[in-house]
């Protein structure tokens, strides 16, 4: 850990496999990371890079079968979440670890009022009575910036706009004062001006409540503005991990470097032609025995086809999984 604090969530060597008719799909391959208390960890990657599946597996939200967790450990408050019984898991999920999903339209139940849905975790986990929970629900809606909160408790989800629904989702996730909040693409379905509102809200809430957040996104711009530390995933693996400024100023993995180069910007210099990453993201299949990025990599070497690079720790909490050394431009000496 960069600051030496004991991690609140410690994931090591997590492996998730889906069994499908076409064979096994290794979606998460030996993922290890730690989350410090109060930290915001950004997770970036393209679709199919395993970022959502990683987070779903560590709190037991994947349907099993077809999913199967082949190995690893997720330590939270001294217990391994992966070994918990369903009842123990329910006591943690929604209570100590909150979850915000991508699509606020489909994750709220259309036949219950918003108030009922915000009050539900309070009654389930905190043992509150109906009246008390309702009152707290109003406070929560106010906390996430919904005007006229008490009156809106009896409204149904369809009476809220997209941005407001995402605020409701955040209120539900925050209801039991979780230590960890996992947000899976929480602003992807929203417009930029609404996204800006939600990002501002999360910044405020972090200062007020101080929980640790895992923020999954494909948008490097969002990550740059909100994260303390960033984890880049590709082909079901972590390819690079670093503090946010370090990652953007000094990217090491060829994938991260290429990704940052392809992005156009609204300020700064305008390039005549966009840089691209040729080829397609890999199809996840059997357990990878070579680097998942080798087919698209600019600096590919012979060794990349034979072995899957292990994580190398550079200075300042900067990890990278690559045989190529960005500083020297040659093969890495280990």
């Amino acid at each position: 850990m960069p600051d030496g604090a004991a991690p609140i969530l410690d994931v090591s060597d997590l492996k998730t496999v889906f069994t499908t008719r076409g064979g096994e799909v290794h979606a998460v391959n030996s993922v290890s990371f730690q989350l410090a208390p109060g930290e915001l960890l950004g997770v970036v990657g393209e679709s199919g890079s395993g970022k959502s599946v990683t987070m779903m597996s560590l709190i037991g939200l994947l349907p099993m079968p077809p999913a199967e967790i082949r190995g690893g450990q997720v330590m939270f408050e001294g217990h391994d979440i992966l070994k918990m019984t369903p009842a123990q898991l329910r006591a943690v999920r929604g209570r100590k670890i909150g979850f915000v999903f991508q699509d606020p339209m489909t994750s709220l139940n259309p036949v219950f009022t918003v108030g009922f849905q915000v009050a539900e975790p309070l009654r389930r986990h905190m043992g509150m009575r109906k009246k008390q929970a309702w009152k707290r629900a109003a406070e929560l809606l106010e906390l996430v910036g919904i005007p006229d909160a008490t009156a809106r408790l009896s409204d149904y989800p369809h009476q809220f706009s997209g941005g407001m629904r995402q605020r409701v989702m955040i209120a539900i996730a925050l209801a039991c004062d979780p230590q960890v909040l996992i947000a899976d693409e929480p602003t992807t379905a929203l417009d930029v001006t609404i996204q800006a509102q939600i990002l501002e809200l999360v910044r405020e809430l972090r200062q007020k409540l101080g929980m640790a957040i895992v923020w999954i996104t494909h948008d490097l711009g969002v990550i740059a503005g909100i994260a303390d530390r960033v984890m880049v995933m590709y082909g079901g693996q972590i390819v690079e991990q670093a503090p946010v400024r370090e990652l953007f100023a000094n990217p090491q993995h060829p994938y991260t470097r290429a990704l940052l180069e392809t992005l156009p910007s609204v300020t700064g210099a305008r390039s005549k032609r966009l840089k691209t990453i040729e080829g397609q993201p890999p199809a996840l299949g059997a357990h990878p025995t070579a680097c998942p990025f080798r087919a698209r990599c600019r600096h590919v070497m012979d060794v990349c086809h034979e072995q899957n690079p292990a994580i190398t720790t550079l200075d300042a909490g900067h990890d990278v999984a690559c045989f190529w050394d960005a500083t020297t431009g040659e093969a890495r000496h280990v």
């Binding site: 407001m164 800006a196 494909h218 910007s265 609204v266 300020t267 700064g268 397609q280 993201p281």
Partner: protein, 328 residues
């Protein structure tokens, strides 16, 4: 851009696209969604006009209305000097080869039961009489142009990735040698690393075939890369229309300003330098827009007049058009 006289390929004047709302047993008309409410602009030959705005602002409706996929509610559209706003049936059909569309979702816009070759050849079958050999030769030519391998001609859409599917959609749009193409969020459904590939392809094709694009998008950074001029839409109206450099360096309309400041920049060190404008509230409903300026309910610099009078869309000294009372 060419110097001298710029020739407008498309002229849109006060275009309106209102959708009726029906209610009750007798399906009586109870109101209108004013998706596009009086927009005017020109697109010059060979340029790319970026049309940006948030969801529900009417940008897609505008694109579809311009191609006459709808019967428009008012105003006029001129393509190559010909008024197409009231054409019907056969007359309209004969114009289709001139103007084509690339859709947002390559998954939904390709028929899953047709092979790539038959998808790309469909416009040819409809509009041209070609022999079998000519038809296949044209399909291969198009597949080469968009970077699809000829071996894939007999495969089905589900066998392709999102980026490749979008290439199929682009090949189909190019089949009849159109001059004008409406690109409706062509990269929104694609991964970041694939977006750049498709954008570069669109630029190459534009240069090669002399295409003119109306590029509809919510991605302001991609529009900055692609567009010659940019129009910003809010609730059915264009609030600002300016050459690219001018719009991004010095936005005049408060909405443009807020929109640009809301785009997250992939640079953590820029955080403190940029001033963020966080707009309050949501976009009003287009079936019940506010009186006066549409943006008056969220504008950080709202004045009394904004709530009463609709601002005029007028030209400033530097050539751009803005609809805002602050410019008076």
């Amino acid at each position: 851009m060419f110097d001298g006289v710029k020739k407008p390929i498309l002229k849109v004047d006060d275009l309106k696209m209102h959708f009726p709302i029906f209610k009750g047993v007798f399906r009586r008309k109870v109101g209108e969604v004013k998706a596009v409410d009086g927009i005017s602009f020109e697109i010059y030959e060979g340029e790319t006009l970026g049309l940006v705005g948030e969801s529900g602002c009417g940008k897609t409706s505008a694109g579809r209305a311009i191609l006459r996929l709808y019967d428009i509610s008012g105003g006029s559209i001129e393509l190559n000097g010909q008024d197409i706003s009231s054409l019907q049936g056969d007359e309209l059909r004969r114009l289709r080869p001139e103007m084509q569309m690339i859709f947002q979702d390559p998954q939904a816009s390709l028929n899953p039961r047709m092979t790539v070759a038959s998808i790309i050849a469909e416009p040819l079958d409809e509009h041209k009489k070609l022999s079998k050999q000519q038809r296949m030769a044209r399909v291969f030519e198009l597949m080469d142009a968009v970077g699809l391998h000829r071996d894939f001609a007999n495969r089905f859409p589900h066998e392709f990735s999102g980026g490749q599917r979008q290439r199929i959609g682009i090949a189909r749009a190019l089949a009849l040698n159109p001059k004008f193409i409406v690109c409706d969020e062509p990269i929104a459904a694609l991964d970041v690393s694939i977006q750049a590939q498709v954008v570069n392809l669109l630029e190459d094709l534009q240069e090669k075939f002399g295409l003119t694009y109306l590029f509809i998008s919510h991605d302001l950074s991609m529009v900055r890369h692609l567009a010659t001029r940019v129009a910003v839409m809010y609730l059915g109206k264009i609030v600002e229309l300016a050459p690219r450099a001018l719009l991004y360096s010095d936005p005049k309309h408060p909405y443009t300003e807020a929109l640009l400041s809301a785009v997250p920049e992939p640079d953590p060190s820029s955080l403190n330098k940029r001033e963020r404008i966080i707009l309050e509230g949501d976009v009003p409903s287009p079936s019940n827009p506010p009186t006066g300026c549409n943006f008056s309910t969220r504008c950080p610099r709202v004045m009394d007049i904004c709530k009463k009078e609709v601002p005029e869309f007028k030209q400033l000294d530097d050539g751009r058009h803005v609809a805002c009372h602050l410019m008076d």
